[in-house]
Symmetry: C2
Subunit: 491 residues, 2 copies
């Protein structure tokens, strides 16, 4: 028990330092003077050095050898599961490989941004080749005899396999392609038009955040180029952005990040600054942001309330009734960009990336052939050609920074949200009446109690199963999408 206490004390400081490093990242995106970038990268490197030294500290190995997990309570056992896994991962990757990956991805991120600005895929491929080679090497070190891509997914979604993801996605894809085609063949809703001042957008965004239960005493909302959520426990900050022609971008980005932020804020205080004190996986995290944003925020009931709020904030903006507003919020339209995609098309973007990155890692796809493969697949699922690389294989930062195995967790989040939404509807029968009054408490309390408060206590699939009463599967999500858009588009 002495070893466990020492380890947890050490771990607590490590988690506190990780929070500090995260806060630096927040600062960099929101408040840092632009001339401070070089100095900041030295500061971040020094923090990374401290964190790395703690991860490989020999005392951790000693403590791990001396702790009998079976003698601990379930919380202690869960803490040990996280710590042992993280330690084993660190020890499997040679230090010089980790250093080379850090160096190459730092270079690759800059080259990607430049190539995207220049619409020049060829300028990016050599460094991407380096990234793929090194990440594959890392994957081999992690996987041992197992599958390289599985090992990568495991970093973001513990115990999920590529084969399970592929089976899930393959069952979804034809139904989503068919739904998309049917929707786009039907009469399109009126799009939003007009001018929506940024200040009034931010005021309403803050109101929406509070409406969804985000605690401003333990968080804050700032503007940044890309919306994100940062921090755990009692200091969880989110960002959003404003476009005066498109207030939905601000409002739904905010609700999305509020989903992430509330998850972190609602984790049991007993897990503060421990390995259980953050969201359990990227997929479960995304399930919270997605259910806040889509199943709740884009529901007919809630958009009815939001319509009134927008009329109050902006006056008459040309949409004359709540039903037209609901259709407008949920308008499906052609587009190349994943981050701008609607509920119907979003997962098609993800499956494309999942199949391509998996093939890159297995060697079935060469980096040189990436653009052609992307464009072929896009044409097959979306029915029109990619017009330029920044709308195609250069649109996302992920691969340049070595994030392989991350993309599928976005769709997994949608799948989890589908399961949770089905159970939530059963648990809160008058949910729509509440949402129509702008009350999310019934939904968010259920999510807090069944999912969020547990932090990392259970395994990801276990969390979803305990909350929703079913093993995670795509059926509830697809059924929800088909029902919603069939009705909305009068298919």
């Amino acid at each position: 028990m002495r070893a466990y206490e020492n380890l947890m004390r050490f771990q607590r400081d490590t988690e506190a330092l990780a929070q500090v490093a995260g806060r630096l990242g927040w600062d960099q995106e929101t408040t840092m003077p632009r001339g401070a970038a070089d100095q900041r990268s030295d500061e971040m490197a020094a923090m990374e050095g401290v964190l790395h030294a703690r991860r490989i500290d020999p005392r951790v190995g000693d403590w791990l050898d001396r702790i009998d997990d079976g003698a601990l309570d379930p919380v202690g056992q869960a803490q040990m599961r996280h710590i042992r896994k993280s330690y084993a991962r660190t020890m499997k990757v040679p230090a010089d490989l980790a250093a080379r990956i850090a160096k190459v991805t730092s270079k690759a991120q800059g080259q990607w941004a430049q190539a995207r600005a220049d619409e020049d895929v060829a300028a990016f491929l050599p460094v991407l080749e380096e990234v793929v080679t090194l990440k594959r090497e890392e994957g081999q070190a992690l996987a041992g005899q197992g599958d390289v891509y599985d090992a990568m997914v495991d970093d973001y979604e513990p115990e999920m396999t590529a084969a399970d993801l592929a089976a899930m996605f393959d069952s979804m894809r034809p139904r989503l392609v068919a739904l998309r085609a049917a929707v786009l063949a039907a009469e399109a809703p009126t799009p939003l038009s007009g001018h929506f001042p940024a200040g009034a957008q931010m005021d309403l965004a803050r109101k929406l955040a509070v409406t969804f239960g985000y605690d401003m005493a333990r968080g804050r909302i700032d503007k940044a180029v890309h919306p994100f959520s940062s921090g755990s426990g009692h200091d969880v900050r989110i960002t959003t952005r404003t476009n005066e022609l498109d207030p939905f971008n601000c409002f739904y980005s905010t609700i999305h990040e509020v989903g992430h932020g509330c998850y972190e804020q609602n984790i049991d205080d007993a897990y503060l600054l421990t390995p259980l004190g953050g969201g359990v996986s990227m997929g479960v995290h995304e399930s919270q942001s997605r259910i806040y944003e889509n199943q709740l925020g884009r529901s007919r009931a809630f958009t009815g309330w939001l319509y009134g709020q927008m009329r109050e904030a902006f006056g008459d903006f040309g949409i004359t009734d709540a039903e037209a507003f609901y259709r407008c919020v949920n308008r499906v339209h052609d587009g190349y960009i994943r981050t701008e995609a609607d509920e119907v098309q979003y997962n098609l973007h993800i499956m494309l990336r999942f199949d391509l990155e998996r093939a890159l890692m297995s060697g079935d796809l060469q980096v040189a052939d990436l653009e052609a493969a992307w464009n072929d697949r896009f044409a097959a699922d979306f029915g029109y050609a990619v017009d330029k690389p920044s709308d195609g294989c250069l649109q996302d930062v992920h691969w340049s920074v070595g994030l392989f195995g991350y993309f599928p967790t976005y769709s997994l989040g949608n799948v989890y949200a589908g399961c949770l939404h089905r159970a939530l509807r059963a648990a809160v029968p008058d949910l729509d009446d509440q949402l129509a009054r702008g009350e999310t408490g019934g939904a968010t309390a259920w999510l807090r109690d069944t999912v969020q408060r547990h932090g990392g206590l259970y395994r990801p699939a276990e969390v979803i199963e305990r909350a929703s009463g079913m093993a995670p599967g795509a059926e509830p999500l697809i059924a929800y999408l088909e029902a919603k858009f069939t009705e909305l588009y009068r298919l």
Copy 2:
């Protein structure tokens, strides 16, 4: 040379981590959600732990043993002087004493704030007694056979002694007391009145910052309860505050912090993230903030320009000409509070504290007698009685957090500023013409080149002597004050 390179690489990371800790402090005063305070103190403690472990790292001792300072260039020798001094200081203070001081001062700060709110000196004295006892113990550990209070001053103003300070202050005090009495017996200028919107104050504050050469690409200005400057190198942030009845508070706080901030921004880039990369001492730091604020910012020439700026920003505010404005800016009036004191009276507040804290440390003054000693001295120098403890011995936070030896550096900064100002006037003969046009470049370039860019390269007194051509002394300051206020008050 290998040992020197290893040490400097280690030191660079330490400096980077110290910058990170500083940024956390900035965040706490400006942007942190209020509910994050407890978690933040865990995060800060973890950072302090990391920094402390680096300060006592045995590798540092090994490197120090193997480096022959004489074989290094002057910059290397200066780096070593700082590193050896800091290491020796750390090793002299027993770890458990340092821990007890951290614990007691943390408690004392809270008790001081409560006692000040309650006007209850007796409630604060027991914990102040603990602080004094522990700080004296620390001073003895640092001083060895030397003077305890000297050792404390040395933390903030290297190589300055209490005896030298006492001699300097004793020469100033009677002349300042006499000047103060004469000024207050003369006809008082019209005080400022009216309402000055906070937004327009901040706009003009930003303009003043840029006017004084503060680089917004490597800094930023935010509001905080207390104005301060934070950070070194390429990320130097300042704060200010607004009071809609008193715009001078905002403007002169800003110019003061800009002086601190420009010093940090203007240090030679070659010293970035090294022991030479920050201001050399508190006294020299304060000399920059004071000369920006007072000798430049409160000069007749500059206030002439500022008067026009304020007319533009606020319209007619009842002061009808630049001369009346100059007299208004430099109005001397009774008051109890050090931070609100004018140029004539400020140093009297400091000398009071210097004599009392020196006597506390030597044992000549008992903590139980502190309030009476404070009130007697105040009545002697200012001619009226302290009305309540929050206007007397409870007004400053310093002693509660263990800052003994710090107060005299404020007046030392004024003394240094006096020396620099005399030399600056000789070096830039048309300074007043420039200031009257709102141009500070002649003055700030001279300060940058003679003082600021050197960072920690020279010893504090050496910096002032090289820049001003004279050994630091009080005469230029006192002569400047007597001349300025004799003329201004037509004495």
